[in-house]
C-alpha cells in the first residue's frame, strides 16, 4: 500500500480495521476524539460495529461483551476517560479476555489539560484498576508506529488472552506524518472455541468469568502467564554501548532524545538512549548493553519521573538515576544535555 498523510489518531483507527477490528465503542475526549470520529463513518464501510457509548464505563463493558463474543474489539480514551475504563480492564484481565485499549495521554491529574503528557505511566504499567495484575503496554513514537502496533497489540492480546494497552499521547495522536497502513486481515469470530456462540446440547457450556472461580491452579496459572508475558520485552537502543550517561525515554520524548544523543556526541558528550517500546514488561534486558554507563536519566513529560522506578529496578542501586521532566511542552535537547552534564559532574567527571 502506498504512503498517505494521516493524523496519528486516524492512522491508528485505520490500522485497527486493517488488523481485523470490527467492534469499537468510545466516548469523546480530547486528544483522542479523532479515533472515535474516524471510526464513526469508516467502521460501517468495512462492515463493523461502531457505538458512541454513553460513558467510558459503558464503552469498555461493551468491548468486554464483544471480545467474549469473539470480535477484535477496541476502545480508546484519554486521562479522565481512561480512569473510567479501569474497572472494565480489570474485568477483562480477570476473565482472560483479549481487547485493545488506547490511552492518548494528556497532561495532568484530575481534568488536567488537553496538551500532550506522559503522566499515566504508573496507571498503565502497574495495573490501573483494582487487583493483582499487569497488562502488556506498547508505546508508539510515530504515526507509522501507531499503525504498526495495532496488529501487534491484537495478536498479543489473543496470544495471552489478555488486554493490551497502547500508550500514545496528544503529540503522536495529533501530528500528521506519512504512513503506510498495513494490509487488511480478516478476523474470524469463531477462531477460538472459548468465545460464546451458543451451547450445543451435550457440549460443555462456555463460562466467561473470573478465572479464579474455575481454575484448579489459579495461582500457578497466573504466575506462569505473567512469567511468559514478561518475555515480551521490546526496545530500541541508540549508541548505548559506550555511553557514559544513558537517556531512557519512550513515545514522543524518545524521538527528541534520539536527536539529543547526536547533538551531544558532536560536542563530545557520550550519551546513549534506551527506548522502551513495551512499558510493561519493562525492557530490563536493554540495560545489559549499558556497559560504560555511570548514570541514567529518564526524559518524561511529567513532574514525578514515574519511569525512574523501573530504571532503578533495572540497574540496581549502584547508579544514580534522575529525571528530566517537561510539562505542557515536549522536552528539548538543550535542557536534557544541561541536565546530563550536571549529573556527570556530580559523578566526578
Amino acid at each position: 500500500m502506498a504512503k498517505v498523510l494521516l493524523k496519528g489518531n486516524e492512522a491508528l483507527a485505520e490500522a485497527a480495521l486493517a488488523a481485523g477490528c470490527r467492534f469499537y465503542s468510545g466516548y469523546p475526549i480530547t486528544p483522542q476524539t479523532e479515533i472515535l470520529e474516524y471510526l464513526s463513518w469508516r467502521m460501517e464501510e468495512v462492515g463493523g460495529e461502531f457505538i458512541q457509548a454513553e460513558s467510558e464505563l459503558a464503552g469498555i463493558n461493551m468491548v468486554l461483551g464483544a471480545a467474549a463474543a469473539g470480535a477484535r474489539a477496541l476502545t480508546t480514551s484519554s486521562g479522565p476517560g481512561f480512569s473510567l475504563k479501569q474497572e472494565g480492564i480489570s474485568y477483562l484481565v480477570a476473565a482472560d479476555l483479549p481487547a485493545v485499549i488506547v490511552d492518548v495521554m494528556r497532561i495532568g491529574t484530575g481534568l488536567g489539560d488537553i496538551a500532550q503528557g506522559q503522566g499515566d505511566y504508573w496507571q498503565l504499567t502497574r495495573g490501573g484498576g483494582h487487583g493483582d495484575y499487569h497488562t502488556l503496554v506498547l508505546a508508539p513514537a510515530s504515526v507509522q508506529e501507531n499503525a504498526d502496533m495495532m496488529a501487534e497489540a491484537f495478536d498479543l492480546a489473543e496470544k495471552y488472552r489478555h488486554p493490551v494497552l497502547i500508550a500514545s499521547d496528544a503529540a503522536i495522536g495529533q501530528m500528521i506524518e506519512a504512513v503506510e497502513i498495513p494490509e487488511f486481515k480478516e478476523h474470524d469470530i469463531n477462531k477460538f472455541d472459548w468465545t460464546i456462540k451458543g451451547c450445543k446440547k451435550g457440549t460443555e457450556q462456555r463460562k466467561i468469568q473470573n478465572v479464579y472461580y474455575t481454575h484448579p491452579d489459579y495461582e500457578g496459572y497466573l504466575t506462569e502467564k505473567y512469567r511468559q508475558m514478561e518475555q515480551e520485552q521490546r526496545y530500541e537502543t541508540v549508541q548505548v554501548e559506550d555511553a557514559e550517561l544513558v537517556l531512557v525515554a519512550y513515545g514522543i520524548s524518545s524521538r527528541v532524545c534520539r536527536e539529543t544523543v547526536e547533538i551531544a556526541r558532536e560536542e563530545g558528550l557520550k550519551l546513549g538512549l534506551i527506548r522502551p517500546i513495551t512499558l510493561w514488561p519493562f525492557p530490563v534486558k536493554a540495560f545489559e548493553e549499558a556497559k560504560a554507563a555511570r548514570a541514567f536519566l529518564t526524559v518524561e513529560m511529567n513532574i514525578l519521573g514515574q519511569m525512574m522506578d523501573d530504571v532503578k529496578l533495572a540497574v540496581g542501586s549502584g547508579y544514580p538515576v534522575d529525571h528530566y521532566g517537561s510539562i505542557f511542552e515536549i522536552p528539548e535537547s538543550d535542557g536534557i544535555i544541561a541536565k546530563a552534564k550536571e549529573m556527570l559532574k556530580k559523578e566526578g567527571k
Binding site: 454513553e54 459503558a58 461483551g65 456462540k197 457450556q205 466467561i208
Partner: protein, 245 residues
C-alpha cells in the same frame, strides 16, 4: 402442568437461599428457551450479584459481567452475534442504581437486547441494603429505621420512567404464585419473540422474593410481594410496540 425441568437447568448444587426468586426465574427462562428452540443459541450475561449464580444453574453460554454493566456488555455481544438471542439478567440494584445509565441509554438507543430485571426490593448479594426499589418504611441494613422517602426517594418505577422511550417492550410480572409465574413466563416469551424479530429493547421486570434479607420465611416473603410490593409495582405490559410502528 409439567414436572420435568428443561435440559438446560443443571441442578448442580445451587447457591441460592431456599425460597429465592432467582431460581424461579432460571426455570422460566429455560422453559421459554426450550419452547422457542433457542436453548442452543442463547447468550446470557449475568451480573455479579445473586443472579451470578445462574451461570452454574443453567447451561447457556454465559458472561459474568461487572456489577451494573451486563446490559452494556449484552449490547457488545449482540453487535458481534446478531443472529443469537442475547439476554442481560440483572438485579434491581444493578439495573436501576449503579447501572441506570447503561439501562437508560440502551433503552434510548432501543438496542435489540432482552433485559430481565429481578426486583427483590433490595441489594441481595451484599446483605440486604436499601435499593432504589425499596418500599417506604422498609427496614434494610442501611435503613435500620425504615426507608425515608424524603431522603431516599420513592420506589423507582420503570413503568413510569421508561414508557416515554421508543423501546420494543416493557412488562412487569410477579413470581409470588402460580398465576404470576404463568403471566411472567408469557412476558418473557413475548420479549424474546420481539427480540428475535429485531424489534429492539425489551425489559421484563420480575417481582421476586428474597426471604434471607427480608428476614422472612419463604411463604411470608411471597405474601409480601402480593400485599406490599404489587401496590407500588403494578403488573402488566406497559409498552408493546407493534412491529409496523
Amino acid at each position: 402442568m409439567r414436572l420435568v425441568a428443561p435440559e438446560t437447568v443443571t441442578f448442580t448444587q445451587s447457591g441460592f437461599c431456599p425460597g429465592c426468586g432467582h431460581g424461579l426465574a432460571v426455570r422460566l427462562i429455560a422453559e421459554v428457551m426450550e419452547e422457542m428452540e433457542l436453548s442452543e443459541k442463547l447468550l446470557a450475561i449475568v451480573d455479579v450479584a445473586c443472579g451470578s449464580l445462574n451461570i452454574d444453574s443453567w447451561r447457556f453460554d454465559t458472561i459474568m459481567a461487572a456489577h451494573g454493566r451486563p446490559i452494556a456488555t449484552a449490547v457488545g455481544v449482540k453487535k458481534v452475534r446478531p443472529e443469537n438471542p442475547v439476554m442481560a439478567y440483572i438485579g434491581d440494584g444493578a439495573a436501576y442504581s449503579i447501572g441506570m445509565a447503561e439501562t437508560m441509554h440502551t433503552a434510548i438507543r432501543n438496542d435489540n437486547v432482552v433485559a430481565i430485571v429481578i426486583n427483590n426490593s433490595l441489594y441481595g448479594m451484599t446483605g440486604g441494603q436499601c435499593a432504589p426499589t425499596s418500599l417506604p418504611g422498609q427496614i434494610t441494613t442501611s435503613t435500620p429505621k425504615g426507608k425515608d422517602p424524603k431522603k431516599a426517594g420513592m420506589p423507582f418505577r420503570v413503568d413510569q420512567a421508561f414508557t416515554g422511550l421508543d423501546i420494543a417492550y416493557l412488562a412487569r410480572g410477579s413470581m409470588a404464585d402460580a398465576k404470576g409465574m404463568m403471566q411472567s413466563k408469557k412476558y418473557i416469551k413475548k420479549a424474546f419473540e420481539k427480540h428475535m424479530r429485531g424489534e429492539g429493547f425489551c425489559l421484563v421486570e420480575l417481582l421476586s422474593p428474597c426471604p434471607t434479607n427480608l428476614n422472612m420465611t419463604p411463604v411470608k416473603s411471597v405474601e409480601r410481594i402480593k400485599n406490599e410490593m404489587i401496590p407500588f409495582f403494578p403488573l402488566g405490559e406497559f409498552k408493546d410496540k407493534k412491529e409496523e410502528e
